[in-house]
Structure formats: C-alpha cells, structure tokens
C-alpha cells in the first residue's frame, strides 16, 4: 500500500512538473481548436456527401453538394496542417524554455553533484527532446478528445437522435473497458517501454565495455550472448504487446462496431423494418449523413491513442530532468575585503557524491596576503579540487576554509574577488577585445589594451590587421594554444581581483613559451594572493612556498 501511495505521489509530482515546463503560451489550445475545427469540417464533409446522394436520388442539381464535399475535405487538411504546425511551434518554444532551465541548472550545479557533464549534456539536449511529442501531439490530442466526440455526437443527434444514442451506447462499454483494461494496458505499455529500454541498455553496455571485450577476445561470445538476450527480450516484449495492443484493439472494435450498428439501424429504419418502435423516421439525407459521420466519433480517441507513447517518453524524461533541476544550487558569493586576501585551509577534505574515496583529504596550510603558493602533486591528488573549492565548485566534506579569517560556507564562493586561468581558455565567438573585456564589462579600451600588453599579446596583435578587433570563433581557430592562454591571462589581469587562481597555466608549453608565460604570471602576481596548481618546477620556482599533496588511495 505504501508503495502504491509513493507511486501515486511521484506520478502527481511528475504531472505537476510536466505541466509547469510545458506552459506554452496557449499554443496547445490553439492547436486543439484547430483539431475541433477539423471535426466541424468533417460534419461539412458528411453533409456534402449526404446532400449529394439525396440530390442525386431526387434528380436535383448536385454540384454545390459536391463542391461542399471537396472543400470540406480541403478544409480538414488545412486544419490538421495548421494544428501540426502550431503544435510543433509550441513544442519548440517549450523545449527552448525547458532547455534554458536545464542549462541554468547545469551551470549552477551543486558542488560535488555526482552527475557527469556527459549526463548533463544528455539531459539538456536529448532528454529535453522527449517532451516534443508531448506538447506537439499529445496535449492537443488529449484536449480535443474530450470535446470533439461531443461535437460530432451533437451533429449526429440533430439528424438522428437514435443513431446518436447508439454511438453513445458504444462509448459507455468502451470507457468501461478502458477503465477496466486501461490500468493494465498502461501498465503493460510501461513495461514494454522498459523492456525495450533494457535491451538498448544491454547493447549500449557491451559497446561501452568494448575494450575489455576485445582484450579478452570475447566479441563472438558476447555477440552471441547479446543475441540470446535480445531474442529473449523480443519474446518477452511480444507477450507484453499482446496485451498492450488489446487496448487499441478495443478502440478499433468499438469504432468498427459503431459504424456497423449505425449502418444497419439506418438501413432498417429506411426500410421501415425495425422490429421495435422508434420515435423517428429517417430520410436518405439524414441517414447518409449519420453514416458518413459515424467514423469521426472515435477518430479523436484514436488520435489520442497514437500519441500515447509521446506522453510516456515525456514522463520518463520529466523524472530525470526534475532530478537535474533539484541538484542545482546557486553559489553564495561571500564578501571579501579590498586588498590581497589571506587564506587558511584547516583539515580540509573534499569528497564528491558517489566517489569511493576523497578527492582531498586532511589538507592544512595558510596563505598570507600577497603570497604565491604552489600546490604540487601527481594528478588525482586534489590540486584542482582545492582551487575549485574556493569558487563553490567542490564540496567541503570536512575541515574549515577561511578567507581573511572568515569561514567559507559550503558552496560559498569568492568568485567576485578572484580571477582564474586554467589549461583551456573559454573563448566566445566575438572579438579578442570583447573576450578580454568579459572580465570587467566597465573596463575602458585603454585598460583592455594595457591588459593585453601585460599578458604578452602585443606581438600577436601587431601581426593581425584587425588587432584587438580580430574576430574569433568558439574554438579559437587560428590561435596557438599559448595565444589562447594569454587571452585568458589578459582577462585575469584586467579583472581588479586580488586573488589569482591558476590551474596548470603552463601545461603542454615548450620550455621557451613556458619561460615567457612564467615571467608574465610573476608580473601579474604583484599585489595579489596567488594559489596555483602545477606540475612545472619552473613555475613552482616563483612561488614563495610549495604545498605537496599526496596521491590518495
């Protein structure tokens, strides 16, 4: 019982989340209106046919009835066309907004969240995609399914209340069957979804493990195993489908049955051979109208059934996306006084969620204002984690970090007063000046130029006709690795920040380039507190102190 209640509450949470993310500015409603209009056009189509047939019998002119038939047909086409286009635009807008939320969550993820950036990419790009069909098709179809059959039924009732009653009567057992079988069918269909996902998962798993499979010379055996599993899942899926198709079978059955019953009733009524009294006598026009319109009664429900898997895909995605959003935790910027800050690390441990060992364990050291301190140790010893810690990008599991004596809270960040230079420099597809100026939007052109000069970019800029106004692409094509990093350095210099965080700023440089870079860094370090992670002895040599970190096991 508890499990059931839990299921219900997660289902409700999921629905609420979906509703909230797909609030699409009324496009679904517009799309629904067009689907309803399609049902109205279907009434015109049936009226055209009925009028034409009875006019033919009566020897009256036909052409306007034929024209009504053709035009109604075209109008139906235009309605579904419009509904599809508007639905697609609504989905596009909803995806855009949802993606922005997921991107914002990804950019502000809590320090230490276990999710890899691969998973975040998957969420922001592919899983957001799963709500497309939900907004574009399922929502309009669901709203239309509630109203359109009633519109059709009203039109039929106007021509023949008994035929309308017959149709309505088939709807009652249909809904009864759906309620009875619906839970089972939905459950089966979820299981089908899960079985197919499992199969894809198994295949993806063996591809992922390919190096091991190859090294153990096991491709043939694993392929065979994959085959057995796939055949097994295929068999199981078929058992599931046998039940799942029953619900669409029921829909189909009542749809066909309603047409047959209406046809037979109308025929007998016209012949005057009904074995029971009815309060109406039909003429050919109304009988034919009813017959031609009868299939439209179930059409909206069939459209809804066809969009059902869109709903399931969206629900699966909603669970994962809401989890990503829940993990977001905007960092808190702590206030740091003017002037180079003092830092103190006391017994600091960093441990990421789901990791089986700490990334940093029991690290203690102090940095005096204006001091340059190098963090030294093999990869995996937690140098970068210590730097990221100060920006609220790594979780403090134990110990205390103080900035100017003030405690840094969990997720707290000194970003407002810090500059960063890493191995890779972030470049936006803008000019070099813009890329440097990102550090300080209020900076004058002269100060950007000064920062560029100080970072050693003068020769590179002089060699380019547009100098600082040279446009870059996002990859920084046409720049060497050193030039890219110097742009990053210029950015770090431009920002009037008294704390400089350097993450292996000279990695992959040759000796000469490294020498130049180190000189520039030494210049930039004046008046700043510098904490840097490095493997380079030459760079570490400019540090006042070297803190050795051990690789942890």
């Amino acid at each position: 019982m508890a499990v059931l209640a839990l299921d219900r509450s997660t289902a409700a949470a999921r629905r609420a989340y979906l509703k909230q993310v797909v609030g699409d500015g009324g496009r679904a409603r517009l799309s629904t209106s067009l689907l309803l209009l399609d049902s109205v056009a279907a009434i015109g189509f049936a009226a055209g046919l009925a009028g034409a047939v009875s006019a033919l019998v009566a020897g009256l002119p036909l052409w306007h009835w034929v024209a009504l038939t053709g035009l109604s047909g075209v109008a139906r086409g235009l309605c579904v066309w419009g509904a599809a286009r508007i639905g697609a635009r609504g989905a596009s807008a909803a995806k855009g907004r949802l993606r922005e939320r997921i991107v914002a969550a990804a950019l502000n993820r809590a320090p230490g969240a276990a999710r890899t950036s691969g998973e975040l990419l998957q969420a922001a790009v592919d899983e957001v995609e799963a709500i497309d069909g939900h907004v574009a098709r399922f929502l309009p179809a669901r709203q239309a399914a509630a109203l359109a059959p009633m519109i059709v039924l009203a039109a039929i009732a106007a021509a023949s209340p008994v035929a309308a009653a017959i149709l309505f009567a088939t709807l009652v057992p249909f809904i009864f069957a759906l309620v009875l079988a619906g839970g089972a069918a939905a459950d089966q269909s979820r299981r089908q979804f899960a079985a197919l996902a499992r199969l894809s998962g198994l295949f993806a798993d063996r591809l992922r493990a390919l190096p091991v499979v190859l090294a153990f010379d096991a491709p043939a055996r694993e392929a065979e195993r994959l085959g057995t599993a796939a055949t097994d899942v295929a068999d199981r899926t078929m058992r599931v489908l046998r039940v799942a198709f029953l619900s669409s079978g029921a829909l189909e059955f009542f749809s066909a049955l309603s047409v047959a019953l209406v046809a037979v009733y109308c025929g007998f009524n016209l012949l005057g051979l009904l074995p029971f009294p009815v309060p109406e006598t039909l003429d050919l026009a109304s009988a034919f109208f009813v017959l031609a319109l009868a299939p439209e009664f179930y059409a909206p429900l069939r459209r809804l059934a066809a969009a059902y898997h869109d709903k399931q895909a969206a629900e699966t995605a909603a669970d994962r996306l809401s989890a990503v959003e829940r993990e977001a935790a905007p960092s808190v910027c702590v206030k740091v006084a003017e002037g180079a800050p003092a830092l103190s690390f006391a017994g600091v441990c960093v441990r990421y969620d789901g990791a089986d060992r700490a990334a940093v364990a029991e690290v203690t050291f102090d940095v005096a204002p204006g001091e340059i301190v190098a963090l030294w140790g093999p990869s995996g010893s937690g140098k970068t984690s210590l730097l990221r810690l100060l920006l609220g990008l790594a979780p403090i599991a134990a110990g205390k970090v103080r900035v100017n004596g003030e405690l840094l809270p969990l997720g707290g960040s000194v970003a407002a007063r810090a500059s960063w230079l890493g191995q890779n420099t972030l470049l936006l597809p803008e000019t070099i000046a813009h890329n440097i100026g990102l550090a300080d939007p209020g900076a004058s052109r002269a100060s950007v130029e000064a920062a560029a000069r100080q970072a050693g970019l003068a020769a590179m800029l002089a060699a380019r006709p547009d100098g600082l106004d040279t446009r870059l692409d996002a990859r920084g094509s046409g720049l060497s690795g050193g030039e890219r990093r110097r742009i990053g350095l210029a950015r770090a210099i431009l920002k009037p920040a008294p704390l400089l965080l350097l993450d292996e700023p000279t990695a992959h440089f040759d000796a000469a380039a490294e020498r130049e870079m180190i000189d520039t860094i030494a210049q930039a370090a004046k008046g700043r507190t510098v904490l840097m992670a490095t493997h380079s002895e030459a760079l570490a040599a400019i540090a006042g102190r070297i803190i050795s970190l051990e690789r942890l096991a």
Binding site: R76, W81, R85, A209, L214, A256, A260
Partner: protein, 527 residues
C-alpha cells in the same frame, strides 16, 4: 547492396512467414475498411429507395446478406488489425534481435581507433537510435501491401460504377504517393542539419561546462547560457523544418481524401445513387488506407541515414586463429627482453603514458613501431588477437560488463568450472565478499558494476584477469581503492599465484606494496 542491406535482408528473410502473414492481414484491414464503408453507403441508399417504393418493395429487399456482411466486415477489420500489429512487431523485433549482435561483431572487427570511437556514450546512443529507426521501418513493411489492397478494393467497388471512377481512385492514390515523395525530399537535408546542430550544441555545451571556474570568476554564466541558446535555436529551427514537412504531407493526404471523394461521386452519379454512394465512401477509405505507406515514405530519409551510419560500423572480422605463445618474452627495448616469468613494474608520473603503453600491448590503440616487442617481434606487426592472447589484463578503470559476477568472470574463460571461478576469486581476495552476496556468483553487478564499491569492482576485474589462460599478467593499478589490509592480502596472494603459475607480470602502480613484487622497472617518460 551494402553489407548492412545484405544483413538486414537475410534476417528479415528468416521472418518471411510472419511478414507474409502481416502483409495479408494488413491488406485485409484496408480491404475490409473500404468494403465496410462502401457497402454501408450502398445499403443505406438502396434501403432508402426500397423503403420509398412502398412496403412490398421493402419486404422484397434482401437486407439479411448486406447487414450480416457489414457486421462481419467490422469484426474482420478489428481482428485483422490486431493480428497485423502483432505479426509485424514479431517480425521486426525478431529480425533486429539478430541484427544487433551482428552490428556488435562488426564494430568489434573495425580498426581499433574507429571501434573505440563507438564506445563514447554519444555515439552509442546514436547506434541504438539508428537500430530503433530500422526496427520501426521493419514494423511498417506491410504498409505497401495494405495500400495496394486499398487501391484494388476501392477500384473494384468504384469499378461497378464504371471504369473511369476506378481509374480516378487509382490515379489519386498514385498521385498522392508521388507527391508525398516529392514533399519529403527536403527532409533528408533538414534531418541531417538537425543531427549536426545536435552535435554542435553538445560540443559547445560541454566546452562551457568544462569552463565552470572561468564562468564563475568572470560572471559569465549568462553569456554562456546565451551562447547555448543560440545553438539550441539553430537545432530547434532545423527540427521545425522537419515538422513542417510532416505537416505538409498530412495536408496532402487529408485534402486528397475529400478531393477524390468529390471527383469519384461526380463521375459515378450516372450509375445511380446506390452505386455512387458506395463508390464515394470506398474512394475516401482507399485514400485513408494509404496512411501507413505515407508514414513509411516520410520515415525513409531517417532510415536511409540510419542505414548509412550503421553500414560504416561493419568491419570485416579477422577469422584467423591467433598464434599462441607458450612462454613469450616481452621487451621495451630491442635487446633487453624480459624472459617469461619475469616481473616488471612500469613506472612514471601521472600522464606519462603508462596506460597508453599497456593499451598498446593489447592493440587497443594504434601502435607505433618500436614501442614493444613480443617474443622478439615488434608488436606493431603482430595480429591484435595474438597480442591479446598473450596478456591477461586488469584495466585501470576496472570496467565490468552489465551482468552477473559469473558473466564477468566467464569472459576470460567461458569453459571455466565454478571451482575455477571460486579459486580466482580467492586469489583476488574477493571470495568471502562474493560468498556473502545474496546470489553468490549469480549476483547482478549492475551497469559497469555500479552496485559494487570501487574496491569490489577492481577485485572482480582482477579475478577475471587471473582466470584468463595467458602467459603474462598485465595489471594496471591492481590495488587502487583498496584499504591497506585488503591491499596486503591481494599482493600476498598475487605473489603466491605467480609462483604457482609461473606467469610473467607487467604492473603499473603508484603504490609501493605491489611494486615490491617486481624485480625490474621500466620508467615511462612523457612522450
């Protein structure tokens, strides 16, 4: 025909009986649909005429046969549609269940660089999607026969009213299909643009996520989000273009139903009201019956892309049996071979290339000549299978496959007995842990061993290496993420095991305890 086309053709041929059944049932569905509406139209109109002619005419009207047929058709249509859905899914699932392992074999046989490119999550996801697209196309195989049957039955019913209406139905149907082909033509370009934008978006976003510290220091989260939005907008635009093509096809199809009905009615009017009524509804249902085929046509661009991409993944398997050395030497310098049974530690700072060297020995990356020698032969010229038969490997990431403990161990030796499995688990100091697990050897380890701790994962991967009957053990960080006590136990049992089996040992480790097993050292320097 491409290899993939041959493969799919072969696997679908094995499902021929099911496919034929699906095709027959699908044809029955559309024929019954056309007949149900056509006959109903005729029945009502004829009944109205008879009813109007007086009670005698009404009594003389044979209503039993048509009304019974109408009910029969309704039941046939329902049953046939259910049977068709089952049959076509059974055929598609069955065929793709056999295509999947074939694709896996093909990927495994690719040159190593291409093969390993497929193991990245993104590419794997695309392969899975491509297979799904092919499966969906197989499900829709009966769409062609269904459309043909609709055209034939519609033509036959309208043909009662004259040849011309039958021709009109056939011509409208053919016209709709041809126009649909024309309309979907831009779809391939839009779909591949969407695919390209999808890749670009992921790349841009991954770059920005990696720059988290810079974003934070310089307050660039907003501009990063704007950057991503620009890429995402391009992706959305391409997808919208695809959706618009699909909308146009729907417009064509639905409008054609009304158009053909109007035209056929106008043409069959001279044959009298009952016949015209039958023909007009038959015409509408005929065009309606083209729906599955039109969906298949619209999906073709995607299926063709899936075919092209999967086709590139089929390498030619090397069927030659590997050469097996009983006791080969290993050398990292041409004249300094280590005799079989020797023990060497591969040392060097992180990032200096220890793992690269190990993966080269297994031919898991393209090997530069003069990297290493196996029994005096440069490994760049040794067949991958021969190299892999010489080394039993513990990968640095201790990768496991999703399955049971037993599944993982049996990779190393499919014929191993349970006793042999327990013996290697004991050597890896893992036997007690597995014994304590709820299902013992049959405990499910989860995807990449996610249900195990890092240390458990590593010891199972170590046991797997022990089980492999190869002359050399190649262990990359065997005691990483183990506590001191377990590490000591693992090293002690490894020592005993080496003495017992006489296997050679190549070991990369940061830790001093396992390094103590080795008598020689090979230092790797940054390339």
């Amino acid at each position: 025909m491409t290899n993939l086309a041959v493969l799919i053709a072969r696997e679908t041929a094995r499902e021929r009986r099911t496919l034929v059944r699906a095709a027959i049932l699908a044809s029955l569905v559309t024929a019954a649909s056309v007949a149900l509406l056509g006959l109903s139209g005729w029945f009502i109109t004829a009944a109205a005429l008879a009813g109007a002619a007086g009670a005698a005419a009404a009594m003389a009207f044979n209503y039993m046969l048509p009304s019974a047929t109408i009910r029969l058709l309704a039941i046939v249509r329902t049953g046939a549609r259910y049977g068709e859905a089952l049959a076509s899914h059974a055929a598609a699932l069955g065929a793709v269940a056999r295509v999947r392992p074939a694709i896996f074999r093909g990927v495994a046989a690719l040159p190593i660089r291409q093969a390993l490119a497929v193991t990245s999550g993104d590419v794997t996801a695309r392969v899975v999607n491509d297979l799904t697209a092919i499966e969906h196309d197989l499900v829709r195989r009966s769409a062609g026969p269904a459309a043909l049957s609709a055209m034939l039955s519609g033509g036959a019913l309208a043909g009662i009213g004259g040849l011309l209406p039958a021709v009109i139905i056939a011509a409208t149907a053919a016209g709709v299909l041809m126009l649909a082909r024309l309309i979907v033509r831009p779809l391939a370009a839009h779909a591949s643009a969407a695919q390209a934008h999808n890749g670009a978006l992921k790349q841009r976003m991954s770059l920005l996520l990696e720059s988290a510290p810079e974003l934070r220091c310089f307050g660039l989260e907003q501009s990063a989000a704007a950057e991503i939005r620009r890429e995402a907008d391009a992706l959305n635009a391409a997808q919208l273009a695809c959706a618009d093509v699909h909308a146009r096809i729907t417009l064509l199809h639905v409008a054609a139903i009304g158009g053909s009905a109007a035209a056929v009615f106008a043409l069959t009017a001279p044959a009298g009201a009952p016949i015209a009524a039958m023909a007009v509804l038959a015409a509408a249902m005929t065009i309606d019956g083209l729906a599955p085929l039109i969906r298949r046509i619209a999906g073709r661009a995607e299926v063709a892309c899936a075919h092209a991409r999967l086709g590139d993944l089929l390498g030619e398997a090397d069927t030659a049996a590997p050469m097996r050395f009983a006791a080969p030497t290993v050398a990292f310098e041409p004249d300094a071979a280590i005799a079989h049974g020797g023990r060497m530690a591969i040392t060097g700072a992180s990032g200096s290339g220890k793992t690269t060297l190990i993966e080269s020995l297994l031919s898991l990356r393209s090997v530069k000549p003069r990297t290493a020698w196996l029994d005096g032969v440069d490994i760049a010229y040794v067949a991958p299978k021969t190299l892999r038969a010489a080394f039993a490997w513990l990968p640095q990431d201790a990768a496991l496959i999703s399955g049971t403990v037993r599944d993982n161990l049996l990779m190393a030796d499919p014929a191993a007995s349970d006793d042999a499995l327990w013996a290697v688990l004991a050597d890896a100091a893992m036997d007690a842990r597995v014994l304590a697990m709820p299902d013992g050897l049959d405990t499910w380890v989860g995807e990449n061993g996610e249900r195990l701790s890092g240390g458990e994962r590593r010891r199972i991967a170590l046991a797997r290496a022990y089980l492999r009957p190869a002359p050399w053990l190649l262990l990359d960080e065997p005691t990483e993420s183990l506590d001191a006590e377990t590490e000591a136990q693992v090293v002690r049992r490894l020592e005993e095991r080496l003495r017992r089996t006489g296997q050679g040992l190549l070991l990369a480790s940061h830790r001093s305890l396992p390094q103590g097993l080795c008598s020689q050292r090979r230092s790797v320097e940054l390339a």
